[in-house]
């Protein structure tokens, strides 16, 4: 359920580090005023990040909740606020409120399971918080497979981290794919759903999918073909959000609110909702 202390008043915060991931995506490391994290969170949860005078928007916390030093947000430049955020330097002040939403069920359903992560583009951001959480609690989970795709190798967010760190983790396989051939690319070429079919996963796993709506749709269809049940597949729904606490009405889908009942949904739960996301 929704944390009763959540409100609309933010905490002052500060950017302490910026990584340029791709031409349009940067990862910002953020801390609260006393260099600490002002609120706790779980993998898959989001926070409202704002530049006073410019605007406020919801972003997935892409770092693990086990990280006690800072939050990370991986932000794609798409409009007014995100463009302004991309001009900021280290030490710039911002404001932050959260954590919002229902997280991935890392402490119950996922325990002891083999996990299949499927991500497209910036969709890796929310899954990264789960992946890093799993790495930090490695013995609690089974085998990890990560299928990640983007338009080109330059659009793969966290590529360095994946190649240097993730592939070296025990019992972990990373499968990268890009849409078109590229010189020097040794990974797969093709769309994510097609690649999943080629890789042919055992349908006993729990799958977590994040990315553009079409990618989610076709990846889910492919998993069902392979024998997965919808109850084994989790995804996130992105709706426009203002309050994050189920009041402003903006993220309403049927009788649910994506900001408190989601953004993480099990795929069979989505079937019960009007198709309007």
């Amino acid at each position: 359920m929704c944390n009763p202390n959540l409100g609309l008043i933010p905490f002052p915060a500060r950017i302490i580090h910026i990584t340029e991931n791709t031409a349009d995506t940067k990862t910002f490391r953020v801390v609260g005023e006393d260099e600490k994290k002002p609120f706790a969170h779980m993998p898959g949860q989001c926070a409202m990040l704002s530049l006073p005078g410019v605007g406020e928007a919801m972003f997935s916390i892409s770092s693990a909740s086990t990280n006690e030093e800072f939050y990370e947000f991986s932000i794609k430049r798409v409009g007014k606020l995100t463009s302004e955020l991309h001009t900021l330097q280290v030490d710039s002040p911002i404001t932050l409120r959260g954590a919002y939403g229902r997280p991935f069920p890392v402490n119950d359903v996922l325990i002891g399971q083999d996990l299949l992560f499927i991500a497209g583009g910036i969709g890796l951001a929310p899954l990264r918080s789960v992946i890093r959480y799993v790495f930090d609690n490695r013995d609690k989970y089974g085998a990890v497979d990560i299928v990640y795709g983007a338009r080109s190798s330059a659009d793969l967010v966290f590529l360095e981290e994946i190649q240097n760190e993730w592939t070296a983790r025990p019992n972990t396989r990373v499968h990268l794919t890009i849409d078109r051939e590229e010189e020097g690319w040794s990974g797969n070429v093709g769309f994510v759903p097609t690649y999943i079919k080629q890789l042919s996963f055992n349908p006993s796993k729990i799958a977590l999918i994040c990315g553009p709506p079409v990618m989610i749709k076709y990846s889910l269809a492919t998993l069902i073909e392979m024998g997965f049940e919808k109850t084994q597949v989790y995804t996130t729904l992105e709706m426009r959000m203002k309050c994050g606490i189920g009041k402003c009405g903006r993220c309403n889908i049927g009788h649910k609110y994506a900001c408190i009942d989601g953004p993480v949904f099990r795929c069979d739960e989505i079937d019960e909702l009007p198709e309007e996301y």
Binding site: N5, G7, I9, T82, T95, M239, R240, G249, P274
Partner: protein, 323 residues
Amino acid sequence: MQSPVYTCSLDNVTQLINRIAEKMPVYGDFGSSKTTLSPKGFFLPALEKLYETAKINDSYKITPAPPENAPFVLLGIRACDAAAIEILDGVYLNDPIDPQYKARRHASYIVTFACETMGANCFCQSVNINPAAPKGDVKAWVKNGTFFWLAQSEKGERLTELLLDLLERTIPAGNDLLPVEPPDSAPALPLPADMLSAFNAPVWDNLHRACIACGTCTFLCPTCQCYDISSHECTENSEKTHCTRQWDACLYPGFTQMAHGNPRPSKKERFRQRFMHKLVYHMQKYGTSACVGCGRCVNKCPVNMNIVKVAHVLAQEEVNAYV
């Protein structure tokens, strides 16, 4: 324990109001009909400041707007609007509680007034509300030239205490308890039983056409509670900003517009959202429909579209689906 019923003559009602007004601001009166605007603005203003920020030494100092907790009285609230306030309470006083709403709500005394007749386009009885028996901290009514006053909550009793020397305690005869027999009860507003079939009903393709998406209905509606949040630079001082919250409407395209597209791309989906929310989604989540039958949207819609029509067309659609 049930509070006693008090009366006074109609000539003394002004005195009652003046007495209360010595203690706190009083809004409204025991007028002949409900107000044009609903009372929701007393709890959720059309525009309010949430907090200010000041940039000091390269860091933001955040000052929340102080809670508005000065007591005030709303007089003459009708049964529909009293029911609407309960619906708003369900949203804003449930976890996480909205502190601004809560402060104003706790500071308010609601004195309701029973309706003797149904106004033009009123249909509260069709949504199971008795216009002669409004809720509220105090319920007032007029019968045979006498003004009746009955506290229905602890707050109502506090208000009554201010007036004891102006009121007379009575033991009303049974038929004095209601101003009039409730007007003939109207047939119930049909509510779709199945969310997905109502959502997918083909009638939406045509129903929305007349709507010009002006948003009048949402701003007049006593239960429409959606809001927008925005941040503004102060014109006098660029280091200061204020963050405001204001009413918004699901009928506007910007409501759900996102960088990668809009889940409600056309007027059809936005129109459908408003009525599905009122008639179906709210029912599914809270167990009551979000329409209290006040009829404001019916009175004021510039193209004569309304929730009663929509509900009946949808119901007809449901019937057609089974024959």
